[in-house]
Symmetry: C2
Subunit: 506 residues, 2 copies
């Protein structure tokens, strides 16, 4: 890298520029972490100004007309490089430029302002269960999102919704998603029925009795993070209202929130974020600050958190490893402190209104609902005023429950108020990819289950690092999945996992 970056080629100049863009992104990561964890409340306005200025500088670096010229020149040069990573790096540069240049700066700015205002309105509207109060600012956000989608569609030669999807998950198209989500919409409701019936016949899960002091919860979380290979010399665990994985390259910071009454949710949240963190920490160091050194799209990122959370941490094997550590942390004793009970607890199915509280089996149905609705809103088939009704109707169809109010319905998520149309599908793409990658890993590592039960997690993490994390953005997500698993995204693997876990099949 350094010999390329220092040279005078167009590609070398682009590497220097993208290195700066990467360092701005890292800095924004630290500013965001700080805001969520330690920033004094009264400093929010100044922080907003800092973030806006750095974001604008990053954008300007990307859409500078010199970039287009150099990208064209670099296409001619890059054939000279023996290393295919350079080719992939240039491809990612081209994509980043195309994405950023597709939308006029004034539109980006107008949308950012409208989204900030709408997020504020959303907070109040959700608290007051008042969809009408959100409607005007959400309409503004939707109108601007449609303008952005149209601009991106023009520039990228895609349909408007696909043009939005492309930002979160390059190469993913509605034509690919529709059959996947229709399969889920068709199969899952019946599986939920069956799982609930099976659950009703089985023993009840018992929640361990608290209180669980927060320092003990933190120490337990750190112990399990450490077992998973999280490097506390290059990362942190802190508290924030909304858990996330952030920070910077080589400085990966995850957060959680604790309840003294129930340690199990926070702990699983930490393990989920640890999956994200291992991905970030395992990205190819030689390509740090270059586009090809970045994580792939949202779906693969989510696949890594869900692999650690759903495939690994909610398994009997992992719980067998974790249980003695939980007992030691809290002095736990009694029938709740049992692997089978913990397993029942961590795989309990429930029809609920709230996506973020949903279990693994019902969660995709929440996504199917949002996927359908956001397409309809974007196309204009669904007027915003009709959103609450359509939401409730969809919940009835997919989950057989109807929210008693919009707070538990269409007001629950911040995504649309913040302009993130096209983001929701990546959650379920991630869940499917997690199942598929885990199955491939299990085939490659015959001792995997025994290793997990014994807390020998290093082989698993090494495999993920070699096959996923360390690959950065060298391949597209579909190509990476095909390389690892030998086939494109296959919803049957996910459904088989669900059938095995929730219906006892296979």
């Amino acid at each position: 890298m350094s010999n390329i970056a220092a040279d005078t080629s167009a590609y070398g100049a682009l590497c220097e520029r993208f290195r700066r863009i990467g360092l701005l992104a890292d800095t924004l990561g630290i500013l965001n972490w700080d805001q969520a964890t330690v920033m004094p409340e009264g400093s929010a306005e100044g922080r907003g100004e800092q973030i806006a200025a750095l974001s604008l500088m990053r954008h300007e670096l990307l859409v500078d007309p010199a970039v287009a010229d150099r990208l064209a020149a670099a296409r001619d040069e890059v054939g000279d490089f023996a290393d295919p990573w350079h080719d992939a790096n240039l491809r990612e540069m081209e994509r980043a430029y195309r994405d950023a240049a597709a939308v006029p700066g004034e539109l980006v700015e107008a949308a950012a302002r409208a989204e900030a205002a709408c997020e504020m309105a959303w907070r109040g509207a959700r608290a007051d269960n008042d969809f009408a109060a959100l409607l005007p600012s959400l309409q503004t956000v939707l109108d601007l999102t449609r303008e952005i989608a149209a601009a991106r569609a023009d520039a990228l030669g895609l349909t408007p919704y696909d043009a939005l999807l492309e930002e979160y998950e390059a190469g993913t198209r509605t034509a690919d998603l529709d059959p996947l989500f229709e399969t889920l919409a068709r199969d899952l409701p019946g599986m939920v029925d069956a799982a609930l019936e099976r659950q009703a016949r089985a023993q009840d899960a018992v929640l361990p009795d608290g209180p669980f002091p927060i320092p003990a919860q933190r120490a337990l979380a750190q112990e399990l993070m450490h077992a998973l290979g999280f490097d506390f010399e290059r990362g942190r665990l802190d508290i924030s209202h909304h858990p996330f994985c952030g920070g910077a390259s080589g400085d990966v910071r995850i957060t959680t929130r604790y309840s003294e009454e129930n340690f199990t949710e926070s702990l699983m949240g930490v393990l989920h974020e640890t999956g994200h963190a291992l991905y970030e920490a395992g990205l190819p160091e030689n390509w740090r600050y270059q586009p090809v050194g970045n994580a792939l799209g949202m779906a693969i990122h989510e696949s890594q958190s869900l692999l650690v959370e759903m495939q690994v941490s909610r398994s009997r094997a992992f719980l067998a490893f974790a249980l003695p550590r939980m007992k030691a942390a809290f002095g736990g004793d009694g029938p709740a402190w049992d692997v089978e009970n913990l397993y029942r607890l961590y795989t309990r199915v429930e029809r609920g209104f709230i996506r973020v509280d949903a279990d693994e089996l019902t969660y995709p149905l929440h996504i199917v609902l949002r996927y359908r609705l956001e397409q309809a809103m974007l196309s204009g088939d669904l007027a915003l005023a009709d959103l609450p009704g359509a939401w409730n109707e969809g919940m009835r169809e997919l989950l057989a429950i109807v929210p008693p109010d919009d707070r538990l319905g269409c007001l629950q998520d911040v995504h649309w108020p913040s302009g993130a149309f096209g983001y929701f599908p990546t959650y379920t793409l991630g869940a499917m990819a997690a199942a598929q990658i885990f199955a491939a890993m299990r085939a490659a590592l015959p001792d995997l289950e025994a290793d997990i039960a014994a807390g020998r997690l290093a082989p698993m993490v090494a495999w993920l690092r070699a096959h996923v994390h360390g690959q950065g953005a060298r391949l597209s997500a579909p190509d990476l999945l095909a390389e690892i698993t030998g086939e494109p995204l296959n919803p049957r693997i996910f459904l088989d996992h669900l059938k095995s876990r929730y219906l006892g099949e296979g």
Copy 2:
């Protein structure tokens, strides 16, 4: 401001550019705070890259050729503005540009690299008491500093040392400093003798017995910070190895370090940093992110920390206010917990080798030594190899003690290894300005002493905000001092304060 910034004038464009520069500076403030307080150790390299990239971007924004053209055009426009703050803002823009453009970018970069290497070498050399190990890298830093000084001297029409001084303290010249420091060098040694004799005749100060739990120390520090008007909604108190005041506009963060054996030093350190913090927090909000909204040079900044620490917090009046709070914090009881004893403790004089541990009376002599030596090194009159000898000779002359080794001598400070020649004088300029400003404030607020003793600190802080903090960089430091106190910097006021406190005179 906003109407100017949004317009299409050259001055408006400059305001936009300097706003971005200010936001980059704020971001660097957060990155530096993070590094010193919470950053994982293994992330230092990445943090260095982030800081280097942002510093370079800030520098490029400043030395862009467009800036020179716009500054010239803005000089013609600015006569149209009724508000003299705009004129001062443009003057500060001109100064910032002149300072940044004076030194070629390659020289700045070479110096930054050499300083980073020399700081590393200094850490080892100090630990090993091995000046010879530092010599080669310090020579490189000195050589580059002389190049920088020559470039600045050329551009600014100053002598090389004055050209370095100008960076830390605009408008200050050796011709002004020499008589000040000669007065101190002449008067202080005898005063130290007299103070030590007087102290020997008086009762010994007794250090309160610990241990002092750190949470109690922190709570006490926060209580006194709060009394001084520190706003915890827009600031923080944390722990770092070297105490400092940092953060960003409207987000002022100070640090300290605690010893369980002795709370008094940490507490006074917190009050010192609170003085810096009140200055930062009180800068004119209407001019945030503009050069005229910045703090004045280092001397006025140090005057605000030393005013709070030396003039206020080490006074009998403040200690009378603080004592019951100290007793409550630690359950203190006995002869040590007495205002007179605390006052003796906090005004104890001692001939010591280490500047940062020095008391108010001997501290300026440490500065006189460094002021003389750094001028001699810069001019070439003192070869680096002869520095240890010259240091020890100077200590003998000024403080009548000779360090037993270089660790306690010329290896103690990081300033020269980090290229900060011309910085040391600002500490003592700050001490003199603090005494002079405090005297003016006492004259303006007849109840000051009684207010301080009663913990009514708001009138004092309001006065400082009106006369110092809220003035930003509207005036030069000498002009500000003259406006507040009616005369230029007068060392007699500082010496009178020392005579009163340490010799019982006046």
